[in-house]
């Protein structure tokens, strides 16, 4: 008879490291007057983002991020807020992914992307120790790695880069879509930055998600940023979109993409839309994968040893 493996996947010292990191994070926000909040984990609505799949439970959804509820708090008059809580993403399992993970998400009234990035840097300095942090625009990152201008790349250019990256297309659906190609190129470019801290900034407008878009420049960009540490993506932030009509438009685009891909299309969150119509104050927000950050602090080669019980033990 084989013995049942009931033990945690982490060392007992890891519990101390995790508790200390959580305490340091709470102290960080307390010092800055950012209020801790708790919002529902199981709710009637969820994201429509085509690349994020929710776990459905009893006709509701485990939240993939506390974003919608936190924005409703802000629209109702809450000050700058943060939350530490579990989020769930169906099927995201791998060395650096666990379908359930601890998210640190916070919103700062009156901040723009750059000011919030500075605060993210300060928190990471507290948790991992100080180190310099570069900023690289998205287009420049891909241009430097692949010698390509993504705004003028032909499908053939993208396909040939994907082939170099070992992309293997279905026999019946040969070419990667432009979105797929960019995702693949970004993943490769980020994996190359195996050392140090980098913010990828100024995303192309079609990857704005819920960031506002700056269009008063030659090449409009989304005020979105992503923090990558030692090749691992740690945080994703926005200078938040406040325009309710634009939000409704992006939700419709996401819903139609889901339809095209044959994915289920959850109903849109009318309460978020109503809150945003009422008025979301100007703010910036960021979501940070706490377990990954802890794994980097511990120097583990993946997320599992930073969790008490990873997916295969839970």
């Amino acid at each position: 008879m084989s013995e049942v493996d009931w033990r945690p996947g982490c060392a007992i010292e890891t519990l101390h490291a995790r508790a200390a990191a959580l305490a340091a994070t709470r102290a960080f926000f307390a010092e800055r007057g950012v209020l801790e909040v708790n919002t529902p984990v199981l709710a009637s609505r969820t994201v429509i983002d085509p690349a994020i799949e929710s776990v459905a439970v009893g006709g509701r959804y485990l939240q993939t991020s506390p974003e919608y509820h936190m924005k409703r708090l802000l629209a109702a008059g809450a000050p700058s807020i943060y939350q530490l809580g579990p989020v769930f993403r169906q099927g995201e399992q791998g060395r650096w992914h666990n379908p359930e993970f601890l998210m640190l998400e916070w919103y700062r009234l009156g901040f723009d992307a750059e000011r919030l990035m500075l605060e993210v840097e300060e928190l990471v300095d507290v948790l991992l120790g100080p180190a310099p942090c570069q900023r690289v625009p998205y287009r420049q990152l891909l241009a430097a790695r692949f010698d390509i201008d993504i705004d003028h790349a032909s499908p053939d250019d993208l396909a040939s880069i994907c082939a170099q990256l070992g992309y293997r297309a279905d026999s019946d659906d040969a070419a990667p879509s432009a979105e797929e190609a960019l995702d693949l190129m970004l993943a490769a470019a980020l994996a190359d930055r195996a050392d140090g801290r980098t913010f990828v900034i100024q995303y192309p407008p079609n990857q704005a998600a819920l960031a506002r878009v700056t269009s008063s420049v030659d090449r409009p960009y989304a005020e979105r940023f992503e923090l990558v540490i030692d090749g691992v993506e740690i945080a994703n932030g926005y200078h938040e979109l406040t325009d309710a009509d634009e939000l409704a438009h992006r939700m419709a685009v996401d819903a139609s993409r889901r339809g095209t891909l044959g994915l289920p299309v959850p109903k849109r969150d009318e309460r978020l839309l109503a809150a945003q119509r009422h008025g979301l104050p100007s703010c910036a927000g960021v979501a940070l994968g706490f377990d990954r950050l802890l794994a980097l602090k511990l120097g583990t080669q993946g997320i599992a040893p930073a969790l008490t019980f990873d997916w295969n033990r839970a």
Binding site: A51, Q93, R168, D170, D183, L184, L186
Partner: protein, 190 residues
């Protein structure tokens, strides 16, 4: 044959990739930010031993390969093929071509048990035992008394393999060889 999706790719799974049987070494789930999920997979091509890296869209499928690793006793070489027999009591025999035997040929001694990889019931690779004992058929005369100090000389073994041996080794002696490194280990004990 079975079809496997990317979330079923595990190290050791045998699949057919671009016409070749491969063993999965590593499957990394990759998902940039809010982007689409991929599997970055390393394969060992079982025909050539080379490592291939491919990236798949998450959820994509590939066909399994009918690959089996099994112990077989080496019987003889008929000049063209190397013949092996299963050790499971079935006495079932297989013939392996030179491409499948590869460098293992220089370590094959009759009645030794090897690990044979079969694809669609044909041997595609042979791994000899980690240690084999082979007789020296040719080497310069030994030097009496020189048993402790370094220094080596080439020796030809009964299989035709040429290895480096200590100076005191003589023709007719049986030596223990590590097949993974091709190095002399010791004199064989009777």
């Amino acid at each position: 044959m079975a079809i496997y999706a990317t979330n079923e790719f595990r190290p050791g799974l045998k699949v057919l990739l671009e016409g070749s049987p491969c063993s999965i070494l590593e499957n990394e789930f990759v998902k940039p930010g809010k982007g689409q999920a991929f599997s970055r997979v390393k394969f060992r091509n079982l025909n050539t031993g080379r490592v291939w890296e491919r990236t798949f869209r998450s959820g994509e499928t590939i066909e399994g390969a009918d690959v089996l690793e099994t112990d077989m006793e080496y019987l003889y070489n008929d000049g063209e093929f190397w013949h092996f027999m299963k050790t499971d009591g079935s006495y079932e025999q297989f013939e392996a071509a030179a491409a499948a035997v590869g460098d293992a040929r220089q370590w094959l001694k009759e009645q030794d048990v090897c690990s044979v990889t079969l694809w669609n019931d044909s041997p595609i690779s042979i791994v000899p035992p980690n240690f084999v004992e082979l007789e020296v058929t040719e080497t310069d005369p030994g030097m009496r008394g020189d048993t402790a100090q370094g220094g080596s000389k080439p020796a030809t073994l009964s299989t035709g393999a040429v290895i480096k041996v200590p100076l005191f080794i003589e023709v007719g002696e049986t030596l223990r060889i590590d097949t993974r490194t091709g190095e002399y280990v010791s004199r064989a004990r009777d």
